[in-house]
C-alpha cells in the first residue's frame, strides 16, 4: 500500500539556521512527489515537485528537495530559515490518476 511518513511532528529552528524536513514514502512505482506549505488559516501552496530527471529539485521561497530512491526519501531543505517560513509542511505522493496521498505534516516554528 502506498503511504507517506513524516516522522517529525514539530521542529523548532532558529532564524538563519538550516532546515531539513524528512519525508519517506512507500510506493510500488516511480513516485510523483510533492511538498506543500500551509500557513495558518490558509490553503496549501505547492513548494516543489518531482516526477523524473534530476533528483535535486528547486522550489519557491528558496526551498529544495532531494529524491533518494535507495532510501525512499524526499527530504525538504532550506539553507537559511526566515521567520516567515513558520508554517505546516506536507509531503505528498501521487497515487493513481487523480489523487495525492498526504503525510500528516510537520509544524515548523522559527525562533528569533
Amino acid at each position: 500500500a502506498q503511504s507517506v511518513t513524516q516522522p517529525d511532528i514539530h521542529i523548532t529552528v532558529s532564524e538563519g539556521a538550516s532546515l531539513e524536513l524528512r519525508c519517506n514514502y512507500s510506493y510500488g512505482a516511480t513516485p510523483y512527489l510533492f511538498w506543500y506549505v500551509q500557513s495558518p488559516g490558509q490553503g496549501l501552496q505547492l513548494l516543489l515537485k518531482y516526477f523524473s530527471g534530476d533528483t535535486l529539485v528547486q522550489g519557491i521561497k528558496g526551498f529544495e528537495a532531494e529524491f533518494k530512491r535507495s532510501q525512499s526519501s524526499f527530504n525538504l531543505r532550506k539553507p537559511s530559515v526566515h521567520w516567515s517560513d513558520a508554517a505546516e509542511y506536507f509531503c505528498a505522493v501521487g497515487r493513481g490518476a487523480n489523487n495525492l496521498f498526504f503525510g500528516t505534516g510537520t509544524r515548523l516554528t522559527v525562533i528569533p
Partner: protein, 115 residues
C-alpha cells in the same frame, strides 16, 4: 486573480442539519477536488471530478455528495451532519493537462463544526 474560492469560511451546524459548501474556480480547470483536514492530519480526498458532469469517490466519501454541472463550480453537500464531519474542508483544482503534472491550486478552506 481569484483562483479557487470557497464559501463560507466558517460554519456551525447542529447534528442532522444539511448544508452545501461552495467552491468555484476561474482558471478553466477540468480537475476539481474536495479534501478534508482533521487536526494533526494530512488532507484526505473526499470526491473529485475530471470535468463537468463527471464525479468520482475519493478515500473518504461517506456522508457527502457532490455535483459538477459546470466547469467552474464543484459544490460539496452534507445531507445529515454528524460530529465526525467536524473538519476543515479544502477545495482544489488542476489544469486539464493532467492532474499530477500540474500543481493543485487550493482554496483557503471552510472550517465546519458539528455540534
Amino acid at each position: 486573480n481569484a483562483g479557487v474560492t470557497q464559501t463560507p469560511k466558517f460554519r456551525i451546524l447542529k447534528i442532522g442539519q444539511s448544508m452545501t459548501l461552495q467552491c468555484t474556480q476561474d482558471m478553466n480547470h477540468n480537475y476539481m477536488y474536495w479534501y478534508r483536514q482533521d487536526p494533526g492530519m494530512g488532507l484526505k480526498l473526499i470526491y473529485y471530478s475530471v470535468g463537468a458532469g463527471i464525479t468520482d469517490k475519493g478515500e473518504v466519501p461517506n456522508g457527502y455528495n457532490v455535483s459538477r454541472s459546470t466547469t467552474e463550480d464543484f459544490p460539496l453537500r452534507l445531507e445529515l451532519a454528524a460530529p465526525s464531519q467536524t473538519s476543515v474542508y479544502f477545495c482544489a483544482s488542476s489544469s486539464k493537462q493532467g492532474a499530477l503534472n500540474q500543481p493543485q491550486h487550493f482554496g483557503d478552506g471552510t472550517r465546519l463544526s458539528i455540534l
